[in-house]
């Protein structure tokens, strides 16, 4: 490789005046800076996380004891619907897009994203879409047909309120923002890399962000189209999903899951990317099998487009269809397994520093592997016939979305927070946060596997005492309480560390990648001089000139 040295940027961030005094709040509305928009996305996720969390707690309180009449069933239906919609569309996607926005230009040595104004548009569309969904509660009642809103239940005959209309409009607007954002990020990665940053040197977070962006472009339009059809059905008397008039409610299920399953990978891939950054740094060695980790993401991307109907094994498809989707869904376990093994192999033989970030990353692997394995069981048609739509699925889904995405995001947050703010999050509070969440999580969701196998269906507002499900449900609810304490500690940590956390410096973790060569927080436009990627680990090269990364 060329002997170009990376220019140093030791300039203090205070040299740059962000904007004229007095424009503080208006500035957040006008900003087109990728880092500020990234923070806006994360703020949006945090705001909605409060609602998503409170609804989750309400569900666990209601289900703690059998035949509980605390929450009225009509309210309960709105609560679990908004919980799902919030966590998927208004928390998981925004927090990940926030990290992509903030970190991708930094990691590839770019000044900003390719289309800064479009970037602002995509944030405001996403945020206003979220507000539109929530406006339903002011307008007379939230959506109440579950986050996947199967017709005819979501049609005008059985859902007479306006909740579903706000769901449709809100998600359509929110989705438009996400699609626009994906175009922007993909173009940025493909066209705005600094000198030396070839595709085969991209940090793995950027790799997985690229795959996610293409997946969004492939999957989200299916949701938008389905939402338009549902809207036209509800208000203009079309019959796309009306079996009495020659339509078919299964069209919705196909269109929704054609979006819905890739969506799972859209949110998990960036989390995989974060883990792939954190584990090598805190293991003190490069990722094991870079090319295989990157290529397996691409394989997951392609395969994830052909597995959607495993959500529909119980609808009565032909054997041929069931076998196809079963086989494809099983296949996706292979590249996913490759990732898990490569992360583990990165740790083996390393020099492990168990910072809070690394704890989250290790907790991620330990938990995600369980979610992955139950995922394979759900790909097996007869087992799926047994456990689909039961609490087993609820457990599986939270193992991948909470144990996967959320743990991954926390690993990324504890890792990059000092880069974004110039201050470290408290490690002491962070470890409390991790252990309480880790224990609380497993206490909440592990018992739900058994509840599902014993016959507890999803979305029941209560259950008969005679079923004997009370004990496991109570355990699950106590676990939710433990997680809540962990989350409160996290919020406290966030507030305290933002104000008075330990100063981080440019490179607090002895890291490898370009973003740690600029100041913390980075100067506007990121680098004072154009950085150069000398290998996959340019910062390692600078610190170890005698044993440069060969990549």
């Amino acid at each position: 490789m060329s002997a170009t040295t990376v220019p140093t940027t030791t300039t203090a961030p205070t040299l740059w005046v962000r904007r004229p005094a007095g424009a503080k709040w208006a500035g957040w509305l006008r900003t087109v800076d990728h880092k500020e928009i990234g923070v806006l996305y994360m703020g949006m996720a945090l705001l909605f996380f409060v609602f998503g969390g409170l609804t989750a707690l309400t569900i666990r309180v209601q289900l703690a004891v059998p035949e509980n009449h605390l929450v009225d069933p009509a309210i309960y239906d709105q609560i679990f619907t908004i919980h799902g919609v919030t966590m998927i569309f208004l928390v998981a996607i925004p927090v990940l897009v926030g990290f992509m926005n903030y970190m991708v230009p930094l990691m590839i040595g770019a000044r900003d994203v390719a289309f800064p104004r479009l970037n602002a548009l995509s944030f405001w569309l996403s945020f206003l879409g979220g507000l539109l969904v929530y406006f339903s509660f002011i307008a007379g009642g939230g959506p109440d047909a579950g986050w996947f809103a199967y017709p005819p239940l979501s049609g005008h005959t059985y859902s007479t309120g306006q909740g579903l209309d706000y769901y449709i409009l809100g998600l359509a607007v929110n989705g438009a923002g996400t699609i626009v954002g994906a175009v922007n990020i993909a173009v940025t990665i493909l066209l705005m890399r600094c000198p030396g940053m070839s595709i085969s040197r991209l940090p793995l977070f950027v790799w997985m962000t690229l795959v996610t962006s293409f997946l969004i472009l492939a999957a989200y339009p299916a949701l938008s189209a389905a939402l338009v059809m549902l809207f036209v059905d509800r208000h203009l008397g079309a019959h796309f999903f009306d079996a009495n008039a020659g339509g078919d409610p299964l069209i919705w299920q196909h269109a929704f899951w054609f979006f819905g399953h890739p969506e799972v990978y859209i949110v998990i891939l960036p989390a995989f990317g974060m883990i792939s950054e954190v584990i090598p740094v805190f293991s003190g060695k490069p990722i094991f099998g870079y090319r295989f980790v990157a290529a397996s993401s691409v394989a997951i991307g392609f395969l994830s487009m052909s597995v959607w109907a495993h959500h529909m094994f119980a609808v009565g498809m032909s054997d041929a269809e069931n076998l196809f989707f079963s086989g494809a869904s099983m296949l996706i376990a292979v590249p996913t397994g490759v990732k898990v093994l490569n992360w583990t192999a990165t740790m083996i033989g390393g020099r492990l520093r168990f910072t809070t970030s690394m704890l989250w990353a290790t907790g991620f692997i330990a938990t995600f592997v369980m979610g992955g394995l139950t995922g394979v069981s759900l790909a097996i048609v007869p087992i799926d016939w047994f456990v689909t739509d039961s609490y087993y699925v609820v457990a599986h889904m939270h193992y991948v979305l909470f144990g996967g995405v959320v743990f991954g995001v926390f690993a990324g947050l504890y890792y990059w927070f000092p880069k974004m703010t110039g201050r470290l999050l408290s490690e002491r509070l962070g470890k409390w946060h991790f252990w309480l969440t880790f224990v609380g999580f497993h206490m909440t969701f592990l018992p739900q596997h058994w509840l599902g196998i014993e016959g507890m269906a999803r979305r029941m507002w209560t259950y008969p005492a005679s079923t004997g499900w009370g004990t496991l449900n109570m355990l699950s609810s106590i676990g939710a309480g433990v997680m809540t304490i962990g989350t409160l500690i996290f919020v406290w940590n966030l507030l305290v560390s933002l104000r008075s956390g330990q100063l981080a410096g440019d490179d607090p973790w002895d890291a490898f990648t370009l973003e740690w060569t600029t100041s913390s927080p980075p100067v506007p436009e990121n680098y004072l001089t154009v950085p150069v990627a000398t290998s996959r680990r340019p910062l390692w090269d600078r610190k170890h000139p005698d044993m440069k990364d060969p990549s």
């Binding site: 069933p73 009509a74 047909a145 079996a243 292979v334 029941m460």
Partner: protein
């Protein structure tokens, strides 16, 4: 032949065993490295290993092979339990139509004398493969009795099929598994597996119109002169409503409101006085009745065995 749930259970056991080995392997590797390679035990830099192509091929290939084996086992199980389409390896000896409705079940037994209609309590003969046709009267429902079968959805405009097989006599509980609106939770399923003789006698009894109702004559008048009659049918009377469950033999059922209460005279009275108290959102409204009318109605309905 064994119940489909047992065949699924056998397959799940194999899959769980394989998964458990993989799970233990990964967790052991994590714990081992967390202990062996923690910074305090590793002086200096870690060796800068970037990967191993052979290892990658091995751990791509082995899971692939395991999955191929699982896939083959799966097709065997699907063949055994008759797959999603009725008429598997063992032909069914009986057919029933199950119709899901918000939030109760109707079952129709085809007989030479026309369909025998019952509600909320499905009886099947033990040790007999039964094919259930699944339809819905409104939204998507899903029929699931975990101890004896997997689940299959009821989709508007479509008839699905599910094989039931009970190896022991007794009562099996199930649950609507697809969210179907406010009272999804209280759309419980009761399946009673009877010895063949008991089943035949039960079906014959169900086929008859309501018997001698002289003891409940007053209650029948209350029934016919109130809202009840517009939604419920009682064969042998003028009540021909189809929106709610057929009540011709309601007194003989084990539960009320699709599982929300056990069927006792006290519970029947409480249910009739205010269904919304026990099943909020149920389509059965609260019908204001005097105490005397309520008593008469309870006597009448409980007498319809």
């Amino acid at each position: 032949m064994r119940p489909p749930a047992e065949a699924i259970g056998a397959l799940a056991l194999i899959v769980t065993a394989i998964a458990f080995v993989i799970f233990l392997g990964v967790e052991a590797a994590l714990l081992y490295s967390a202990w062996r390679f923690r910074a305090s035990r590793v002086p200096g830099l870690a060796p800068q290993i970037t990967g191993n192509r052979t290892l990658e091929i091995v751990w791509t290939g082995i899971p692939l092979l395991i999955l191929v084996v699982v896939f083959v086992l799966m097709t065997g199980t699907m063949r055994e339990i008759g797959t999603s389409v009725a008429g598997g390896s063992t032909p069914a000896q009986m057919k029933v139509l199950a119709v899901g409705a918000q939030w109760w079940w109707e079952y129709r037994y085809p007989t030479s004398g026309g369909d025998v209609i019952v509600a909320n309590e499905l009886h099947i003969p033990v040790n007999t493969p039964v094919d259930v046709d699944l339809e819905t009267a409104d939204v998507v429902h899903s029929f699931w009795v975990p101890e004896i079968s997997g689940k299959t959805d009821m989709i508007p405009g479509k008839t699905n099929h599910l094989r039931l097989y009970a190896a022991h006599t007794g009562t099996y509980s199930g649950q609507c598994a697809e969210f179907c609106g406010v009272e999804h939770a209280w759309m419980r399923i009761t399946v009673v597996a009877d010895a063949q003789g008991d089943f035949d006698r039960w079906l014959q009894a169900q086929a008859r119109p309501r018997g001698d109702a002289s003891a409940g004559a007053q209650g029948e008048k209350v029934f016919m002169s109130n809202l009840c009659v517009s939604c419920h049918a009682i064969r042998g009377t003028d009540a021909k409503g189809e929106a709610g469950p057929d009540l011709t033999h309601v007194g003989g059922r084990t539960t009320l409101g699709a599982g929300v209460l056990t069927n006792t005279p006290q519970n029947m009275r409480a249910w009739l006085a205010d269904p919304q108290k026990y099943k909020p959102g149920s389509l059965m409204p609260r019908v204001p009745l005097s105490d005397a009318d309520l008593d008469a109605l309870v006597t009448y309905l409980e007498g319809l065995k």
